[in-house]
Symmetry: none
Subunit: 402 residues, 2 copies
């Protein structure tokens, strides 16, 4: 826990206000052919109206130049700064809804092909299909059995990717990657980074060896690589920290998992923005903090589909009044990272923030876009500062010191 | 001492420049009925002229969303960041001009009424008058006597409030509050938070018990509550840090106390801005750093009196030429926190900063207000960075590194 979280926590009080954090995945972008970004190009009258009535700014997710994944991006928005890291293995496990108990060690895995002299000739086993990968993992799961009292659960992800969860007593995640990172290099076992992890290293390496025995003879897939060993972090929940009853509306497993990690109740709803917003409406009286995750703009950005991202933003704007009509005390609209179509992936660019509350100083920004937000009244702030700002505007923080 | 203070201190040199820090208590506000804040509404030609010639920005007192009290607010402006906390008991003691020697333990007190089964039925003893409260405290002081070699001094504050200062050897302030915080709960003694504080806890609890014996039979006031146990912090003075001879002009005890805490000389002057400014004029040759505290805008904000706060700002602007005509090398005008009339109290909103020196880069802001300052050339900065900026513009900091 950071000292800022401790400070906010010591000041937090309960009241009847409602806070909504609307995360538009991959919200930020870069200029397209006509010089405007996706968000600047999109016709978003409802966002623009909120921008005109509220305040705007830019969020730095993890300092200048750092491109964050969805895990650290969301955790920052929830107020858990870079001092509360969550391992990649765990985030990946959340993404495939793999159960991870306290003490379990997770890792991201690749099915791969290992050739002569232990050389990893293809780190992705020819990018084999999700379906074929699933069958291979089922076979491994069937034939593997526990290793020195440690059970291993294998969960397929996309293509050649999977998640391995090791469960048993005395495990320690502090291991080096069992992955040469580049093709043409020799396969490598994991090493314990601290003496306490020696037992876990021996189990993991036995698992890797056993995998190669089981797959012996398969021309395509002859082994696997593991990286990002990590364990479920023991984060204080939002309720413990700030006395808020929090709920998450998110269609994708990873975001549901991230929400659970900070103690949110995950509610059921369809995947479209209007489904999510209607669900908030249905549960309005039961919680005081709502996290809503809208996925499509990121997917179109990742496809490099500029027009598609523009349409996805317009579609979500159309449904926005469902949420606005609930009259939340504080409404923050932002993203967990930028996904410019130009880069076809996550980027480091700061993310636009739209902030609405009765206690703001409305700035002169009257539309929602990256460059107008750069001149907004909230300035450029660390994403991990947003939660404190939402609590303050909901009058949920006492004064510090006399 | 923070690493930044150490760095600045290592670079500080003396010269003949003059620096003025003018703190307008509760300066920042929120839009009123016409959409403008108190400061934006006020006719302040002299501030506007300074803004046009100088630079502007916004100060974050303690990170986004945190509302600071006057203690941490002023300490931040003096360059003592959140790593130099000062306990509430001490700040309160400064506020009533209670002498506090190194090692003394102070606490904020409430006279209260305790009923059947030790239940605190009224934490404020019916909000008894300051006058009646003073008589009760005098009686307690007269009849109490030392406890195990520790003397107790009781200082009346407003209404039911007072400050207790425990003086004697081997005291330790690390005690839990002797206050159930809410009415209807049982009275509670203080507990030592560390073993070294056991003796102090026994003295404080004996004091609380003795208080109830003395007041036995009084239908209104039957005991007291104590909270915020703290001791005088051992802060390095501004002179030790930056080689400045500093003076404070402040009419209210708390600000005089805060100034003394960082080693300023506290000068005598009347309460009106013009009295304070004339005093600066009178002592101009004797000091090189002047801290001036103007109180009225905060009081009107706390009353929820928008028009009154506007008038208070206009009144202080009228007298400003007295100060400007002294031609300080550096003049900073800001506040220790915002006090919007809308919220009738301290708030978390960043505070406008007006900064004038011969070595600035004047921005295009030509009036003094919250929202123009948000676009000012100094941007949004941590309040604890201001002192370094003032020293730099006064050419009092050497280069760091070759």
């Amino acid at each position: 826990m950071t000292s800022r979280m401790e400070l906010l926590s010591s000041l937090a009080v309960e009241n009847l206000t409602k806070m909504v954090l609307l995360v538009v995945d991959g919200l930020g972008g870069l200029p397209g052919p006509k010089g405007l970004t996706e968000l600047e190009s999109a016709r978003t009258p409802h966002l623009d109206e909120l921008a005109a009535r509220g305040e705007t700014g830019l969020l730095e997710m993890m300092g200048p130049g750092v491109t964050v994944g969805s895990g650290p991006g969301h955790l920052a928005l929830f107020g858990y700064g870079p001092d509360c890291p969550v391992g990649r293995g765990v985030i990946e496990a959340l993404g495939v809804e793999a159960p991870v108990a306290p003490g379990d060690v997770c890792a991201r895995g690749n099915l791969c092909r290992i050739g002569e002299r232990e050389i990893v000739v293809d780190r992705r086993a020819g990018r084999i299909s999700t379906e074929r990968s699933r069958r291979v993992l089922e076979r491994l799961q069937r034939e593997m059995g526990p290793i020195d009292g440690v059970s291993v659960a294998l969960h397929p992800a996309e293509d050649h990717r999977f998640v391995a969860v090791f469960s048993g007593p005395d495990l320690d995640f502090r291991l080096s990657d069992a992955d040469p990172q580049k093709e043409g290099r020799a396969f490598r076992e994991c090493r314990p980074l601290v003496p306490q992890a020696s037992f876990t290293a021996s189990v993991v390496n036995a698992f890797l060896a056993r995998t190669r025995e089981i797959l012996d003879g398969d021309p395509e897939v002859s082994g696997c690589l593991l990286r990002g060993f990590s364990t479920r972090p023991d984060l204080p929940t939002l309720e413990e920290l700030y006395k808020t009853r929090s709920a998450a509306l998110a269609a994708y497993p990873m975001y549901r998992g991230l929400a659970r990690l900070v103690g949110m109740e995950v509610l059921e709803a369809g995947p479209r923005p209007k489904d999510l917003f209607h669900a908030v409406q249905a549960y309005w009286d039961d919680y005081d903090f709502f996290f809503i995750h809208v996925k499509t703009p990121h997917l179109r950005g990742e496809d490099g589909d500029f027009a598609g991202k523009v349409r996805a933003l317009e579609a979500f704007d159309e449904d926005l009044p469902i949420l606005v009509d609930l009259q939340p005390t504080v409404l923050a609209v932002t993203g967990d990272h930028s996904t410019p179509s130009l880069l076809r992936g996550h980027s480091w660019h700061p993310v636009p923030l739209l902030f609405f509350s009765p206690y703001g100083r409305p700035d002169d920004v009257i539309s929602f876009g990256e460059r107008v937000c750069a001149r907004g009244g909230l300035g450029r702030m660390d994403a991990s500062g947003l939660m404190g700002l939402m609590l303050a505007h909901a009058l949920r923080l006492m004064k510090y010191g006399a």
